[in-house]
């Protein structure tokens, strides 16, 4: 499912395809979970956030309109709204028990890094399998160019030129200007 566009997967989700939802989960859950642990400060709440987001995608996929926003923008908005809800709920609980804690930020993405992350996640899905592979090995598995050469049984020079081409393709697939909020 790696090469299938988000917009096609979400159409299948709208038709009741759980596998397509699993494909979207594989692409975005790490980013949502990472945001949850960072901004909610609690792994249990981060899990709740991931679950809430995908439940919302499942329920509302039929309303997703690709002419209005990309899927990555849509799921980013859902994530941001759910995270804000969870932060507010936690604050309400804290007030109820009267604990005196320093104020927490209400914006779950103050630096915009989460928004940029969703954009990169979507751009990665639009790359060719060889370009995606070389970037995943370099940035997510932390391999050097030489290690990628050994792992993929590809000449070092090819790995270097492929990495450059993959970065260029990724830049072209990324949004020219990220959505502001």
């Amino acid at each position: 499912m790696a090469g299938v566009e988000d917009e096609i997967l979400v159409r299948r989700v709208a038709a009741g395809d759980g596998r397509a939802l699993g494909g979207l989960y594989d692409r975005y859950a790490g980013l949502i979970y990472g945001a949850g642990t960072r901004y909610l400060g609690d792994r249990g709440q981060a899990e709740d956030l991931v679950q809430d987001v995908f439940l919302s995608v499942w329920r509302n996929a039929g309303r997703f309109d690709p002419s209005r926003a990309s899927f990555s923008t849509w799921i980013y908005r859902i994530t941001r709204n759910r995270a804000t809800d969870l932060i507010r709920r936690r604050k309400a609980r804290v007030r109820t028990v009267g604990t005196d804690l320093p104020p927490e930020p209400e914006d779950p993405d103050p630096s915009g890094s989460l928004s940029r992350g969703f954009d990169v996640a979507a751009a990665l899905t639009r790359l060719s399998p060889t370009h995606r592979e070389v970037l995943v090995l370099a940035y997510f598995e932390g391999l050097s160019q030489r290690e990628i050469s050994t792992r993929t049984d590809t000449p070092l020079g090819t790995v270097k030129s492929r990495t450059t081409a993959a970065l260029r393709a990724l830049r072209e697939a990324m949004s020219p200007e990220l959505d502001g909020w």
């Binding site: 090469g3 299948r12 979970y33 940029r116 830049r171």
Partner: protein, 206 residues
């Protein structure tokens, strides 16, 4: 990415100072690199059990009912009456996609037609093919819905000495969203598609 030695790095920097197009290219690559670093740092692998909780255990969406039951019954009676009066052309307006199957080198004389009709729960895949080699004892054919590297089986069938087959298979309701179909010859119980591609075609709306 830190893979240049100091001499190479200095040579690159000197070149960039005097070359606008390379500088712009380097800037684009740098931005992509920084975004990837940021993305990798922002992501964290969720615990393995979470996927089951977040995806596999979701309730199936309830079928949408936009009219009260009595109105649905009345509408059904009306449609049946219309169908009786005007024939099947009125009632046969289901969503249909179709493909003409072209042969590969393995079966140059073969051909076929596939029609996918979306139903309420599943899609009906109607296949008519000809010129296919007859199946031996353990052989069978498999029809695949294809998109990029993804293959979803729409079912299996056998072909006798005539080389012809006309069969109706059931596939998931979203089968009509795939852009291509293909038929492979299979000889084992491996659920993945085999290498022996026999026929393939592009699905189009009709």
């Amino acid at each position: 990415m830190g893979d240049l030695d100091p001499t190479e790095e200095r040579a690159v920097e000197e070149h960039l100072e005097g070359c606008t197009s390379c500088r712009e290219e380097a800037e684009a690559l740098r931005l992509a690199h920084e975004r990837l670093v940021e993305f990798a740092a922002a992501s964290e692998a969720p615990p393995p059990h979470l996927k089951d909780r977040a995806v596999a255990s979701l309730p199936r969406p309830a079928p949408r009912r936009t009219v009260p039951p009595w109105a649905a019954v009345a509408a059904a009676v009306f449609l049946v009456a219309l169908g009786l009066a005007y024939g099947p052309s009125l009632l046969g307006s289901q969503e249909v996609v179709a493909a003409t199957l072209e042969p590969t080198g393995r079966a140059p004389g073969a051909g076929g037609e596939v029609e996918i009709v979306r139903g309420a729960e599943n899609a009906e895949v109607r296949l008519e093919a000809w010129g296919l080699p007859a199946c031996e004892r353990e052989d069978y054919y498999e029809l695949w819905l294809v998109e990029g590297e993804e293959r979803v089986s729409a079912g299996t069938f056998s072909v006798g000495r005539s080389g012809e087959v006309e069969v109706v298979l059931n596939a998931p309701r979203f089968a009509d969203s795939y852009p291509q179909v293909g038929i492979t010859s299979e000889t084992d119980t491996d659920p993945r598609p085999g290498d022996a591609k026999m026929l393939g075609g592009e699905l189009r709306g009709s």
